[in-house]
Symmetry: C2
């Protein structure tokens, strides 16, 4: 025990949960917002901007990359990251689709 029993749920449910998991850390939210703000991409500036150590930032970047929300290109010795707009939109669609499922009446209990 201890591991999520993904096989009990549909692909869509697991997918949605994984999307939420990618956003479920304030450092990753902060990274995404920083990438949005600077539009042009940043790299190790994130390390100085947020107060976390370089390996920690690198790990969060890796997760965001796995979640396909960001992409990075090597530029000399540094790496330039930015939002993947296509996937960003995909997230937006799927998440707002989930919240649209409720045609909210008054609470029933």
């Amino acid at each position: 025990m201890g591991a999520t029993k993904s096989d009990l749920f549909t692909k869509k449910q697991n997918n949605l949960a994984n999307m939420a998991k990618a956003l479920a850390h304030p450092a990753r939210i902060a990274i995404l917002q920083e990438l949005i703000k600077l539009n042009a991409c940043v790299c190790g500036d994130l390390v100085t901007e947020l107060g976390l150590a370089q390996p920690t930032i690198s790990q969060h970047l890796k997760e965001l990359k796995n979640a396909r929300l960001i992409q990075g290109t090597i530029e000399g010795t540094s790496v330039c990251y930015c939002i993947n707009p296509k996937v960003w939109n995909e997230y937006k669609q799927i998440l707002s689709g989930f919240f649209a499922e409720v045609k909210l009446k008054s609470d029933c209990c």
Copy 2:
């Protein structure tokens, strides 16, 4: 180490991350969808519907209650749960607000 360093981030960032965390498990997604589908509230039917043990479901319900997404009322020996429409809308607003931050141009890298 091991614990999230919440003090490095803004209230909004932590709040958004916590909202995402509430959704970051397929069982909780499934519970919410079941509550939406049956509109009227369910209780221990969730245990038979999803394949998880009763204490596990109870724990997920507790987290959803902490996240204020659902509310429960005691009805005899059983408990009736349903979506909290007000908070549901709040989540919808805040999340879609986050995704709206990107005025997506082409990718920059």
